[in-house]
């Protein structure tokens, strides 16, 4: 189990971004974090990725009552692609698996590029790719290390519908096959329902957990169940944000 306990995270001017955020993640669980823009979702991802250490609280991993030690290493996709422009697409992918033999890493990179439909661009530089293609490469890079934790920040935003469906299936397959724990940040509730086992709603900055919604296992491919869940969540959100009286639930 992974425990996220962030007591406080502040901007440099002292304004709080995250306050009293406590989340527990089961091994292999897929969790979507839904929050409005500017609520601190990306800051939370930076903390989970080990980039931002300027907060009070702790991240820990445990098995039952036993402490398993350090927070696990993660595969990360940022909101922007952040590919290294001086490395080819293949080199960008191989770079993030430093422990793996190069031939093995190249074979894995080739498979992942094929999965995202970009096998033909392995030898090109990121500057030669469109924004959408770069995002697909960034997703392949996040899936390269096969680590226990996968952090995806709005991975499918501004992609065309066939790509969205293909890449969503790819993410779900990797989570299932590699037993990855997924933290999936999005502002799209329908997307969250399709991907996650559990949806967590955060309040606007400072971010704090305001509601959790469990998604049934069989819902992901059933449009009528998705629509029903979506309707319920939207009504719940309207109540929370004061647009509907409580009776509507």
């Amino acid at each position: 189990m992974l425990k996220i306990e962030i007591d406080s995270k502040r901007y440099s001017d002292g304004k709080p971004i995250i306050s009293g955020l406590n989340i527990e993640l089961e091994q292999g669980e897929r969790v979507a974090i839904v929050a409005p823009s500017g609520a601190g979702k990306s800051t939370l991802m930076r903390i989970l990725a080990g980039i931002d250490r300027g907060y009070t609280g702790k991240l820990s991993a445990s098995s039952g009552s036993q402490d398993k030690g350090n927070w696990p290493a993660a595969g990360v996709m940022f909101q922007d692609a952040r590919l290294l422009p001086w490395l080819t697409i293949e080199e960008n992918l191989v770079l993030v698996t430093p422990g793996l033999p190069v031939s093995e890493a190249k074979a894995r990179a080739a498979r992942l590029l094929q999965s995202v439909g970009l096998e033909s661009v392995a030898g090109r530089y990121p500057g030669a790719l469109s924004g959408g293609m770069q995002r697909r490469v960034a997703l392949a890079r996040a899936l390269m290390p096969r680590r226990g934790l996968l952090l995806l920040d709005e991975p499918l935003v501004s992609l065309d519908l066939p790509s969205v469906e293909r890449l969503r299936d790819l993410i779900l397959a990797h989570c299932r096959d590699d037993g990855l724990t997924l933290v999936y940040v999005t502002h799209d509730i329908e997307e969250a329902i399709r991907v996650a086992d559990r949806i967590m709603f955060l309040s606007r900055s400072p971010a704090a957990l305001i509601h959790q919604e469990v998604v049934a296992k069989n819902i992901h491919c059933n449009q009528s169940l998705i629509d029903e869940k979506l309707k319920k969540i939207r009504a719940m959100k309207d109540v929370m944000e004061g647009r509907l009286p409580c009776l509507a639930l």
Binding site: G50, F78, L84, W86, L87, L95, R124
Partner: protein, 255 residues
């Protein structure tokens, strides 16, 4: 027309222009290209030009490498630590504005008329320029890309060699280019003022005898070697390290 053809054409134009000026002026004031070529052959045959050239190139290599190492280290430290920048900004700016000649004379007075003084004078003159260029390079490093290395927990050496250092290439190349062109000019002045050998010293001797052909022969050979260094080392390194700025098709791909 290819870039190489254009370069050769440019060289031919310079030679034709030179010959034209020779026809207009008296050949004693400006010897023609063929006469200079003959003089170069003669000096090489006697072994004098190659010996002096080797001495100057050795000084240049030491001065350039030391200046690049010290300047780059100072510049990157200044970019990384604001306290280092606060301490070094004033002396670096001061050194940037002191005439090269003053530094050269002071080095010879303080250290003596020897090799150490010659190389020190070159290094002290060049370090501030390189430091300022690399400081700007260090400041321009994209922190978001450095975070990629952190997020994927890359080893420190890989973070430096694959993410940090490549971002400095354009600044490093600019520093090397301007560094070489400045260092070889400074080294000739250093040799003219306080050395008993080297190209600069020989130019001083030719000046005393008003030997214009000698001055031009040594200068042309030295400048030619610098051009070859630029063409065969710097340009090739630039092409290899900055290849990513060009797409294979020379255009951006579409989804």
């Amino acid at each position: 027309m290819s870039a190489t053809t254009l370069r050769l054409l440019s060289l031919l134009l310079i030679l034709l222009g030179w010959q034209f000026v020779v026809w207009v002026l008296h050949p004693q004031l400006l010897p023609g290209p063929l006469e200079i070529l003959h003089r170069i052959q003669q000096e090489f045959a006697e072994g004098e030009l190659s010996a002096q050239l080797a001495i100057t190139l050795k000084r240049l290599a030491w001065g350039f490498c030391l200046a690049m190492l010290c300047g780059a280290a100072l510049g990157l430290l200044m970019a990384r630590y604001s306290s280092v920048n606060a301490v070094l900004d004033l002396p670096v700016t001061l050194l940037l504005n002191i005439p090269a000649l003053v530094v050269i004379i002071l080095c010879f007075i303080w250290i003596g008329l020897n090799e150490t003084a010659a190389i020190t004078a070159v290094v002290v003159n060049k370090v501030p320029t390189i430091a300022v260029m690399l400081r700007e390079g260090g400041r321009a490093v994209d922190q978001k890309l450095l975070e990629v290395g952190q997020a994927f927990q890359l080893p420190p050496w890989q973070r430096f060699s694959k993410i940090y250092f490549p971002q400095l290439y354009p600044h490093l190349l600019a520093a090397i280019r301007t560094g070489l062109s400045l260092v070889w000019k400074i080294i000739l002045v250093v040799e003219l003022l306080g050395c008993s050998n080297g190209i600069g010293f020989k130019l001083g001797v030719f000046f005393q005898y008003f030997d214009i052909a000698g001055i031009l022969a040594y200068s042309v050979v030295f400048a030619g070697i610098m051009l070859l260094v630029d063409a065969f080392f710097i340009r090739r390194w630039e092409a290899a390290t900055l290849a990513w700025r060009q797409t294979p098709e020379g255009r951006y791909a579409q989804d």
